[in-house]
């Protein structure tokens, strides 16, 4: 299978491990990725004008005829949102008037669903089954919104992936709660409060690892975890992995291929447990 790949801006900075693990996992699963030609920012959550955001997304979507895959749930949501808005004739007309190539249609896919299509629990490529690993599935907001693909209130696709990798999916009450990421620069306190509530809840649920799909959630829950622990005076110490990193571990890919050393909270202790359980030491 060959897909167009939209890495998104974070692939070159705060989400380098997302990009790395996405490419490695797809390669291990025989999915060929062709990076979108001369892609631009999708607008993330920071472009106030909806029409401009749709236009920016559309410029990416006209670069290929293939289905477009991304690992970033913000890019995924924006491209999907734009493709829905572009069904409206007046919006399509306005946007096409400023594009070099005209938009007609696009299929947008998230890496999560691409991986699940290629993998089931009996697959021999799962050489490190994550048996007994307690995983908190954290969706955040945008994988499921706008509506139309997964239930926005009670999605289960992350649980499906977790089970496919032989791990235990925890019931995680705040799995679709917002992490506050989009406002962390401008409204720091508000963002910290909501992010810490999620970490605390994961701790309470007994999570050994949190798995998620959004690079902004990753900043809030992983890169800021130490600072939040200090601020709130509570230890959390839970690694936070991209779905592609968790899947990659089960596929036997190494820390280098998955960018695991780029995670702020090291997943190495968790991985040791996984290996010990696999070899029957616990």
């Amino acid at each position: 299978m060959k897909l167009a790949y939209y890495p998104g801006c974070v692939s070159q900075s705060t989400g380098k491990e997302m990009d790395k693990s996405t490419r490695s996992v797809c390669s291990a699963l025989g999915i060929e990725l062709e990076e979108l030609e001369d892609w631009n920012c999708c607008g993330a959550t920071h472009v106030s004008s909806e029409l401009v955001a749709v236009g920016l997304a559309a410029r990416n979507m006209v670069q290929t005829e293939r289905p477009i895959m991304t690992s970033c749930s913000i890019c995924y949501s924006n491209l999907r949102f734009a493709s829905l808005r572009l069904e409206e004739p007046d919006i399509r007309e306005k946007v096409n008037a400023v594009l070099d190539k005209k938009y007609s249609k696009a299929t947008i896919r998230h890496a999560l669903d691409v991986i699940l299509e290629a993998l089931d629990e009996n697959d021999e490529r799962i050489v490190v089954p994550l048996t007994n690993l307690k995983v908190a599935p954290y969706y955040g907001c945008l994988l499921t919104r706008p509506t139309g693909i997964y239930s926005p209130e009670f999605p289960t696709i992350l649980e499906k992936l977790i089970k496919t990798l032989h791990a235990d999916a925890l019931e995680f009450r705040l799995k679709t709660a917002c992490c506050g990421g989009p406002i962390f620069m401008s409204q720091e306190e508000a963002a910290n409060d909501v992010a810490f509530r999620i970490l605390r809840e994961a701790k309470k649920a007994g999570a050994e690892v949190i798995v998620r799909v959004c690079p902004l959630c990753h900043i809030m829950l992983d890169a800021k975890q130490r600072a939040l622990e200090q601020k709130f005076g509570e230890k959390i110490e839970i690694p936070v992995l991209y779905v592609t990193q968790l899947a990659g571990i089960a596929l036997g890919l190494g820390p280098e291929e998955l960018g695991l050393e780029m995670n702020s909270v090291s997943p190495m202790a968790m991985m040791e447990k996984v290996y010990e359980r696999m070899t029957g030491e616990i």
Binding site: N40, F184, M185, N263
Partner: protein, 172 residues
């Protein structure tokens, strides 16, 4: 005058906004509702009543995380997030928002000038107008730099002119 404002919001956010029944599902779903005044529900009411100054001069707009839960749940299929976007756009056009440009504006300027976002130059610019954020930014910057995850340089994409045109033409 008040009607002109109301019409602008309806044009940008959808005419269905008029059908709001003020049930408050949007406010009840909002992750930052406890910090907002006016609430999202009230904000929609202000727009429909044409109360422009109150609708544009508040922190509510900038507390929205774009999580879209209000939009998923609205029983009238209104998109409250689109109302927030419309008001942000109008506020930006009129230069409303304290000391300087909003984070959102700087973000868009960087896309306009380069096509993509690189965190370091963006954060640097933001801190010039919002020095209160320096402590958290330094902390975060150090953490990310240690992991080799800071985008230092921005290189313009080839289609920069097209991107610029998209932004300029579609925000008219």
């Amino acid at each position: 005058m008040t009607d002109e404002f109301r019409q602008k919001v309806l044009k940008l956010a959808g005419s269905e906004v008029q059908t709001c029944i003020q049930c408050g599902t949007c406010s009840a779903s909002c992750p930052t509702a406890s910090l907002m005044n006016p609430s999202i529900r009230k904000l929609i009411k202000l727009c429909l009543e044409g109360r422009k100054d109150e609708a544009l001069n508040n922190d509510t707009l900038w507390l929205c995380t774009s999580c879209l839960l209000c939009t998923v749940r609205c029983p009238r299929s209104i998109r409250p997030k689109a109302v927030v976007s419309a008001l942000k756009e109008l506020a930006e056009q009129q230069g409303i928002r304290g000391g300087g440009p909003s984070y959102e504006q700087l973000f868009l300027e960087q896309i306009r000038d380069y096509g993509r976002i690189a965190e370091l130059p963006l954060s640097g610019k933001f801190l010039l107008v919002f020095p209160q954020g320096i402590v958290q930014s330094m902390q975060m910057g150090l953490e990310l730099a240690q992991r080799g995850k800071i985008g230092l340089e921005i290189v313009s994409i080839k289609g920069q002119d097209e991107v610029k045109r998209i932004i300029e033409e579609l925000s008219k």
